[in-house]
Symmetry: C2
Subunit: 678 residues, 2 copies
């Protein structure tokens, strides 16, 4: 680890994203997702599963108020477990002192306020800010005198606080609260929620640690690790970094902390090494080589590990991050940047197990992979991290949201037969069309917070260098000492590969590091007159800048047929089609039924054309190919099996659309991996 | 339906199977399975899940005895539900008045006694018969005064008798008891168990029917239908046929009987048509077109339907049987004769959904398909039924048992990666090696009863015609009026396609109907001098027989590459290799790891050789083929995805073994469907 290579995300206050593509996504979030989500948090969306989130905060606030009014005579309810999800007897008559919904429902607010914060940096909106301030008032009113702030336990019984770290998401909600509070403070300068989050963090710090008398536990669902690092980086208070490090260090130590909480797990007689894989707590993190368990939790943990490694210079921890990164991206990642091959536990499976039709590939997991990627980039600017970040963003992340921003996928399969989704219980998790909202609504708000802050993934910086990881149209300001450099990036990514960069950086000593995407085999730099150096997939530019200079990068966006390693059983003999960073797919709407009968011509005669999907402009591809004809069987045309005959084909044009735009035109078959006629 | 075409199975008393292949299987059952099973029934197999079966009968018998001793003062326990499987608190201290095990555990005995009966016809064994008689005494001692005989309810509370037909297998155990009793009577002439079964049947007949005051229910797990027909055919008592017909007719009528039993199912809000699919009770049977639900239950029902249709001449019912047959064999059957594509509900899914690696294809389901096939043959001698029967027997059925008869498969996948079975919960039902015994032990005893009675599937007869469905070496006697014809069949099926038939049938008017297997495109008949006619896949022979005549059939056993209909997504571009009726597969032991990299040469250069698997002689195949080489990727050899390059291959010899012999040489990869390099 070389601290000279470190970089940090450019503050959203110093970027304005102007990019047609990403600005469009951000506007969808601002205009559709954030208001919709606010309605959802308040259970006002007809036909959607209620969140109960704001109800719970209000109920907890009422309890607080009554407690104060009654002085010390208030007695908290004694905790009894009522299931992972508490449903009201009568959904129309919520009791005003009851908790409802999933135990992690508080996090719905936190993700929303985080997205709101980011959005305000790009598009000031006093109305929205007012709503957000009001929501913050409600949330803060629920905070206990000791700083504790989780409505499930406030309403169900504080005596059970921190008794089920493994399953109850208490520290997960805590982490999300910090993330939301930091984002909102950074956007608005308002610190009410930040102070509340700090008080909660102080409470947690007072209760967890290696010291005697403290709990030696750690989160069952990770995120607090990276959240605490953010809080540390904002406030400079070491104790938050220490708490993050403690959570990372304690995880997976023997005897297992979760064994105390969950004697029933011990009883199950799982071999020692098999316990808590799901929670990445089967081994101390520094000994982990393989990504296991719930994939969202996993990448959230690895992100936190990378953060702690960066700040503490911990080489061993960084080594584990690198090994886990390699394991995911070389053995367990779909071509779309999707991760998590099975819905059972929403989890990673074994190496090269990447089934297309039963994939889980949760939107949140790809988002988490983006988090992890950026944190690895912050430590070392190697293009392999940005390549995966880009792959996930344009494919497995964006596919999570409909083009109108009104419906969402949890699961992002690479092959869909709608009949299977309806009739085959093994594929019930795979939805052939996006859903409006989920009771367990992690993906839509997670998309909202990522997309609203997308600029902070495109660019990182250190003292004198600006790193361009994604070529996103933007204007940026960069401070270098006392001076300010202005940078303007113009591009029509991901549809065209030209990037125009305009620099006003006279006497600043600004350096630029430009990522060379892995999808182009050559590139051109036009109009730049200074020194260049290529390293780790970045092109470093340095010169004495004039008043205003501009130059252009050309990344040829060729259409490529991509093969998977032959170890991937599901993809052997097949190819995925990509153009630039975009993965393409076939849909029944364009290609008819039975996509398995289609083959692509390996000569790859392909035309690229401007088109649109439901009004959204995209590049479409038309590739020469074939349709395998049904074998003509004499007499028994209905026979399921017949003696093989040399297959016959007719020519067919394969119409490809970007994978992330699938399922916007109704329920139909979809396929990413298509046979190649070699 | 033409009664002139009807035939019935040849009595096992009139056949001696002499066939090397099948006699070997029967001897395994006799020497290994039957004694092992007896130990299992008595919980004497170390390391295997206890059956508790004989324990339960003894406990019920004790209750009976005490009841008699105490006169009428005995009060039966009040029923409380204790789960689908009742496990003892201390497995070493069973209480002598408690029921243990699955609710259907009684059927373990019934299947065993059925196999014993069949076995005694082929191999008299006074020792075994003595053990069987002793077991029958124990079972009969458990029968209640009113004829009721199901130990779960006798021991748990008779007040709940017939209150959960849907799930509790009461009428399933009843059906198996009849099957066992009939078989044992037919083999030995001893009627103690038969009388008990009749008394139980009388009790059931008195309680079920359309009449007022009777229960209008029917079995949740079918088998009683076909069992009652057997009892009718043995005893001539119409009421048993009527009860069978009632069960068939009542099934699926609205309002659903199971709705009364299971208000919770109604509450679930499943659409009306979706309820009881699992039990084939979603529609009246005559309206059913598609095979649904639990596949064993389904084919047991269809077998019973065919029996009732045959005996009642019910064309509409027969029409349903034909439609369901076509639906299974044209849309839902693996090339091995396996059925049931999903482990969830051990069930059929939708048309052409035949995943190889997650297949369920339960051994019992293939056995049930054999039952159904023979019953369809009994109505109409069309080779398509016998073709499927043969396919299932040599492949999906036999694969259920290890070559040493000591371990068993429940699930018969067509592709196995052992790592997946261990690490991927979606494939935990797929075992890479056979298991010793199962707590829910349906498959091993079902195999035992089928294999011991295999002669009755090979041959059926009517007044003057002997139908040869399978070419199984045997000697048979056939009565024609007052005369007797002796027939000897010699073959080395399934390894060689020559069949020598010797007839001593002077003045009998014997006709022969010889099935022409679907796997040979031509055949020869040598040495026969009479009249021949081909119809529905059978070659009919007729002549005035001399004292002794012999002739030979030659069915060329060519190796064939078999393709599935292009609608089967999992198999497109792939072939299965068959020789005669035997499906072949690749195993890692012979072909190395990563079987997905292998391709077969479509020229099909194949050599057939004599070999053995663990000492069992088989024909092995060696086919010319290729191994796809790993693409050489510059720089990034670990990259999961790369730009497609024309694949390179090296020549490889593909070593095929018969599918049913797989997994006899330890845990390893296996694959039936292999890519063809076309």
């Amino acid at each position: 680890m070389d601290k000279h290579n470190y970089s940090t995300p450019v503050s959203l206050k110093n970027i304005q994203v102007t990019d047609t593509f990403w600005k469009g996504e951000m506007e969808l979030v601002r205009k559709e997702v954030i208001p919709y989500q606010w309605d959802a948090l308040n259970d006002r969306v007809e036909g959607a599963a209620p969140s109960f989130c704001m109800h719970n905060f209000k109920a907890a606030g009422k309890l607080n108020r009554e407690k104060k009014e009654k002085g010390n005579t208030f007695i908290a309810p004694k905790y009894t477990f009522r299931g992972f999800e508490v449903l009201p007897e009568d959904p129309k008559q919520l009791k005003d002192d009851e908790f409802y919904g999933f135990v992690f429902q508080d996090s719905d607010f936190s993700k929303w306020i985080e997205a709101v914060g980011y959005s305000l940096t790009q598009h000031p909106d006093p109305e929205l800010e007012k709503i957000a301030d009001g929501a913050i008032d409600i949330v803060c009113a629920a905070q206990q005198d000791d700083g504790y702030l989780d409505t499930y336990y406030i309403l169900s019984g504080r005596d059970a606080t921190f008794t089920n770290l493994k399953d109850h998401h208490e520290l997960y909600c805590f982490g999300h609260l910090i993330e939301g509070a930091v984002a909102y403070f950074q956007a608005t300068g308002k610190d009410k929620l930040l102070k509340a989050a700090e008080r909660f963090a102080d409470y947690v710090a007072a209760n967890f640690g290696t010291e005697e008398g403290k709990l030696h536990g750690y989160p069952g669902h990770e995120i607090a690790e990276m959240a605490l690092v953010r809080l540390y980086e904002l406030t400079g208070k070491e104790k938050y970094l220490n708490l993050a490090r403690y959570f990372v260090d304690e995880r997976g130590k023997r005897p297992y902390y979760f064994d105390q909480e969950h004697p029933e797990e011990v009883k199950k007689g799982h071999e020692d090494e098999l316990r808590y894989f799901y929670n990445q707590a089967h081994l101390p993190v520094r000994k982990q080589d393989e990504a296991f368990g719930h994939s969202v939790r996993a990448v959230y943990l690895y992100s936190g590990m990378a953060d702690v490694a960066r700040l503490t210079g911990d080489e061993t921890l960084y080594g584990a991050c690198r090994r886990l990164w390699d394991n995911i991206t070389e053995k367990k990642m779909y071509v779309t940047g999707g991760i998590g091959s099975t819905h059972l536990g929403e989890a990673f499976t074994y190496a090269y197990d990447l089934p297309n039709d039963t994939a889980y590939a949760e939107t949140c997991a790809s988002i988490g992979l983006v988090f992890f990627a950026r944190r690895m980039l912050e430590i070392a600017p190697e293009a392999r991290y940005a390549n995966v970040m880009e792959r996930a963003l344009y494919n497995g992340v964006l596919s999570g949201m409909a083009l109108d921003g009104k419906s969402f996928f949890y699961v992002n399969p690479l092959e869909v037969l709608p009949e299977a989704c309806h009739k085959d219980e093994r594929k019930f998790h795979v939805k052939p069309v996006r859903q409006k909202w989920f009771g367990c609504a992690c993906c839509p708000p997670n998309l909202a917070r990522l997309l609203s802050s997308i600029g902070s993934y495109a660019y990182t910086e250190n003292e004198d260098t600006l790193f361009l990881h994604l070529y996103m149209g933007s204007t940026l300001e960069k401070k270098i000492g006392e001076k300010t450099a202005d940078i303007r990036v113009e591009s029509n990514f991901p549809w065209e590969g030209d990037v125009k960069i305009t620099i006003r950086a006279k006497d600043t000593g600004l350096k630029l590091a430009l990522r060379i995407p892995d999808w182009c085999s050559r590139y051109e730099l036009d109009g730049f007159t200074g020194g260049t150096e290529e390293k780790d997939g970045y092109l470093y530019l340095q010169k004495d800048w004039g008043e205003e200079e501009e130059f252009t990068l050309h990344f040829p966006m060729e259409v490529r047929m991509i093969a998977a390693k032959e170890a991937v059983r599901e993809d052997i003999g097949k190819v995925a089609v990509m153009r630039g960073p975009v993965v393409y797919c076939l849909e029944e709407t364009d290609n008819g039924k039975d996509l398995q009968k289609l083959l692509i011509d390996p000569e790859l005669n392909v035309t690229v054309s401007d088109g649109n999907i439901c009004g959204t402009p995209v590049k479409k591809l038309t590739a020469a190919g074939f349709r395998q004809l049904d074998t003509h069987i004499e007499k028994e045309s209905e026979a399921l099996y017949h003696v093989w005959k040399k297959p016959e084909f007719e020519k067919a044009e394969l119409s490809y659309i970007p994978y992330y735009t699938w399922a916007n035109r109704g329920e139909n078959e979809m396929q990413v991996w298509t046979r190649v006629r070699d």
